[in-house]
């Protein structure tokens, strides 16, 4: 059997993309998922706060996933669970996906289109290279989230957290509720990398100190973690001698960033963007390989799952268009990140495919107050968005109407942060 669409990953991006592409008319849709159930990382996110944009409700992670799983079920979309994807091979019009699972063994699945929705993984301790010993008791925040929420086990009692990413903040609260003592959250940067609401609800409400411009300079303990040395950093992010402080603890949680999981993408030879660590995509999330689409955290790390779902709808529409031969491949605009902005997605726009407006997602490099995000084509300012506060932790969603873009010839769209003029 040849599938119309195979979706690589049954997390929030994959589920929403599956629903959309099916609604848009694709017949044979298949979801591949390596875990024992659909929902991806949402299943271990038992806190609430999901779905405010999508459903106007505050849902827990599993509840948010369930909304989409229900649609997948009622649309009759099949999925292979406990199934690992080994690779994806481009065979021209068709792609072959090689998968294994316990039940059916090794298989090659053929499909006309693919939607990449593999999500992201946590940056490990090795990558940030904290000096000292390598004892038990150093975990990434997501690993602990799994132990606590899924397995019902605690990793320790006296906790320090490095990095103020959202999972770390959520786990600070979760572990406190479970009776652990969270002594500090240390953040290398002078600002938090988590959402403001998480700082308030997960740290402030429990009296957990957030130490900005602090890092860990040494890990103590040969067998099990015995403590960490914490130091203040200067403007070059280097530890300031004399500011070191030993904090005894048995557990260190790392929440120091997420990395899109793109091994399959890279091995398939799809063009990557070093700024996002994801594939270069178009307005309907088409990649450089015809018939292959990508959405969600595998393209760029999102702040809210609601925007993952939003992006997945685009990929679903794109794949449906490709199947009917209606997808235009002529690139009109190339969005670029200018001053103050670290990346822009999509990196390509084929205007003929666009709906009423094109949404550009971007992240800022540092904290800005009372600035505007401006979009230029050549020297012409084509759109502008005023922001009271811009935080690296929060994505900027910048919408430009199709009619506006249609007034300009092909070229670069440059997004920059500039002073607000009244």
């Amino acid at each position: 059997m040849i599938y119309d669409v195979v979706i690589l990953g049954g997390g929030p991006a994959g589920l929403a993309a599956a629903v959309e592409v099916k609604k848009e008319g694709a017949e044979n849709v298949l979801i591949l998922e390596r875990d024992r159930e659909l929902g991806g990382i949402l299943n271990q996110c038992i806190h609430n706060g999901f779905g405010l944009h999508t459903f106007n409700e505050e849902l827990t992670g599993p509840e948010y996933a369930e909304r989409y799983v229900d649609q997948v079920t009622s649309l009759g979309i099949p999925c292979f669970l406990d199934t690992m994807i080994l690779d994806m091979v481009d065979q021209g019009d068709l792609k072959a996906i090689h998968v294994i699972n316990e039940k059916d063994g090794y298989r090659a699945i053929q499909t006309k289109t693919v939607i990449l929705t593999m999500g992201c993984r946590e940056r490990p301790s090795g990558a940030i290279g904290i000096p000292g010993y390598r004892p038990s008791g150093v975990f990434t925040a997501g690993t602990v989230q799994r132990f606590v929420n899924m397995e019902g086990y605690m990793p320790g009692k006296e906790v320090v957290i490095l990095g103020s990413g959202d999972i770390g903040l959520i786990m600070a609260r979760r572990m406190t509720l479970e009776g652990a003592h969270v002594k500090a959250v240390c953040e290398l940067m002078p600002y938090s990398n988590g959402l403001v609401r998480n700082i308030v609800q997960c740290l402030d409400d429990y009296g957990i100190p957030l130490r900005l411009s602090h890092t860990i300079t040494f890990i103590h303990g040969k067998d099990r973690l015995e403590g960490v040395t914490v130091a203040r950093v200067d403007e070059h992010l280097k530890a300031i001698p004399g500011t070191e402080e030993f904090i005894p603890c048995d557990t260190l949680l790392l929440s120091v960033g997420l990395i899109p999981e793109n091994e399959i993408t890279r091995n398939a030879g799809i063009e990557m963007d070093p700024r996002t660590n994801g594939a270069v995509v178009g307005e309907l999330r088409q990649t450089s390989m015809p018939g292959v689409f990508a959405c969600g955290n595998v393209v760029h790390v999102h702040d809210l799952v609601d925007f993952v779902s939003e992006e997945a709808v685009l990929a679903g529409k794109g794949a449906a268009k490709y199947l009917t031969g209606a997808l235009d491949t002529h690139v009109t605009f190339t969005p670029l990140n200018g001053d103050g902005i670290s990346y822009v997605v999509p990196q390509r726009v084929c205007l003929k495919n666009a709906e009423d407006q094109v949404t550009f997602y971007m992240r800022v490099r540092q904290v800005f107050k009372n600035k505007v995000v401006n979009a230029y084509i050549g020297e012409t300012l084509i759109a502008s968005k005023k922001e009271k506060k811009l935080l690296p932790a929060e994505m900027v969603n910048f919408k430009i109407a199709r009619d506006v873009l249609a007034q300009y010839p092909a070229g670069e769209i440059r997004f920059v942060i500039e002073e607000a003029t009244n």
Partner: protein, 491 residues
């Protein structure tokens, strides 16, 4: 009463045990750690040196090249990944070229085959990412890379399969010589043996002092390392050494046998047991590695670690001149395999043969062959390396090979269950990692470690919080159940 007790189940002790198991002897292999090969063997450069460094009058010079040529057979018998990738000692100027020529001459004396001095163009044709100012190199095609911990585990397994008794978590605290035997006191009970082989790594001098007047002293010298993602594993294809100095072979850049890239080590005397990395030393390695390989992508580092060398000190104490100490000691029946630093790993097949055939045989001249000795172990399935058809067949035979647990290294549940149930089976998360690489990849176990804990608990019939990361009792992973799980458990 055992015929022979070996103290230390690192590569030296384990390998000697395996060679002794060729004979009908009762042998016990003791280690204070919770796994074999858990100290020096666990953390080193993983290089099988060609053998041109050490002077030919030293044991190091005598055994290195001899051990090196035995590696294909050993690794084939013991199912250990080994790659004879060759090494280059690179020179930046004429002074260093002079050293290269000395090394070449010394290599000839040591019997190193196929050595060649290369001109600038030849070096850069072989390795495109080296510093352009490199003007020549000594090429040793017989140098290689191995997985030292897999070698040690498999050698120990082969020894056990051939009748050796392995006792882990037996930390030796005293040794008494009693008439015709030794009484070895450990934290887990006493062991009696007619002969003792001391292969206690960095602690070998302390062990010897329990039984005899000290005649050598060991200093722990620490080396820091970085491991890079497989994505950049082919930046170099040979082991790249700088010109050696009195401090050692210098900061090398090498491919690992599993396809990562490794840089290190520095050398710094430390207290025994100090395997902490330090910021200054890690920076030092980076700076020095860049001298030969200026495009090292430090954003692709996935792990840093440090390991120890056990270096004999050259002072009035010593009779060794920094060489291996491999001999029957002044205490009759007590054999030292000490000061066993680089090129110890490279030399071990030859050294173990020497210990058994020359030293032990002199003490026990009437050793009888073990008729059941089997030099091979049952090969381990490595799912990722199989062909499509082999993968299909394997999953059909055992569906557990169809479930990938470690995504980064593509390690299946079947492989993890296999290493748990072998005769030197994995009991800890770290020992699973050493044996089959689950958790060795770019995410460093973030995703798979909870699953490995689950599999260990299931296969060993214990609860999740009884599974250790490494050392028994002290290296726990989980401190207990959550409140909600506790209340659910109550009737």
């Amino acid at each position: 009463m055992y015929d022979i007790a070996i103290i230390g189940a690192g590569i030296a002790g384990s390998y000697v045990a395996r060679e002794l198991s060729r004979y009908k002897l009762t042998i016990v292999l003791l280690d204070g750690e919770n796994d074999v090969g858990n100290q020096i063997t666990m953390a080193n450069s993983a290089i099988i040196h060609a053998g041109f460094d050490a002077p030919s009058y030293k044991l190091k010079g005598k055994f290195n090249a001899a051990g090196n040529i035995m590696y294909e057979k050993v690794c084939a018998d013991l199912d250990v990944p080994f790659k004879r990738c060759g090494s280059l000692v690179v020179a930046h100027d004429e002074y260093e070229m002079a050293t290269i020529h000395e090394l070449y001459q010394n290599g000839l004396k040591n019997g190193v085959p196929d050595l060649k001095i290369l001109f600038k163009e030849e070096v850069h044709a072989m390795e495109s990412h080296l510093n352009k100012d490199i003007c020549g190199a000594l090429y040793a095609p017989t140098a290689g890379v191995v997985s030292p911990f897999e070698l040690c585990v498999n050698v120990a397994e082969n020894a056990v399969d051939n009748g050796v008794t392995l006792k882990l978590n037996h930390l030796v605290s005293a040794i008494k010589k009693i008439a015709d035997h030794f009484n070895i006191v450990t934290n887990t009970g006493n062991i009696e043996a007619k002969y003792v082989i001391n292969a206690a790594g960095v602690y070998a001098d302390d062990i010897y002092e329990m039984v005899g007047e000290p005649y050598f002293q060991l200093v722990a010298r620490k080396g820091n390392y970085f491991i890079f993602d497989k994505e950049v594993g082919n930046l170099v294809n040979h082991v790249i050494f700088p010109c050696p100095s009195k401090n050692g072979k210098g900061i090398l850049v090498a491919p690992t046998v599993h396809g990562n890239l490794l840089i290190g080590p520095d050398a710094e005397p430390v207290e025994k047991g100090d395997i902490s990395t330090t910021a200054e030393r890690l920076d030092y390695i980076k700076t020095n590695a860049l001298k030969n390989c200026p495009t090292l992508p430090f954003n692709k580092i996935i792990r840093s670690f440090a390991g120890l060398r056990n270096t004999p000190v050259a002072d009035t104490f010593t009779t060794t001149d920094g060489d291996f100490i491999i001999e029957e000691s002044p205490v009759k029946g007590f054999i030292n395999v000490a000061g066993y630093e680089s090129p110890g790993l490279s030399s071990i097949p030859a050294v173990a043969h020497y210990v058994v055939e020359e030293i032990v045989k002199a003490l026990i001249p009437d050793m009888i062959d073990n008729p059941n000795f089997n030099p091979k172990i049952r090969p381990r399935m490595r799912f990722e390396e199989l062909t499509e058809t082999e993968k299909k067949d394997l999953i059909k035979q055992n569906p557990k090979y169809g479930k990938v647990i470690c995504r980064c290294e593509t390690i299946t549940e079947g492989e993890i269950m296999d290493v748990i149930h072998r005769s030197v089976g994995a009991r800890t998360v770290k020992s699973v990692k050493k044996r089959c690489r689950a958790g060795m990849g770019r995410c460093q176990g973030g995703f798979c470690s909870p699953r490995v804990v689950e599999i260990l608990a299931r296969e060993l019939h214990c609860s999740l919080d009884e599974i250790m990361y490494d050392q028994q009792d002290s290296a726990y992973i989980l401190s207990g159940k959550t409140k909600s799980a506790q209340s659910e458990a109550k009737p």
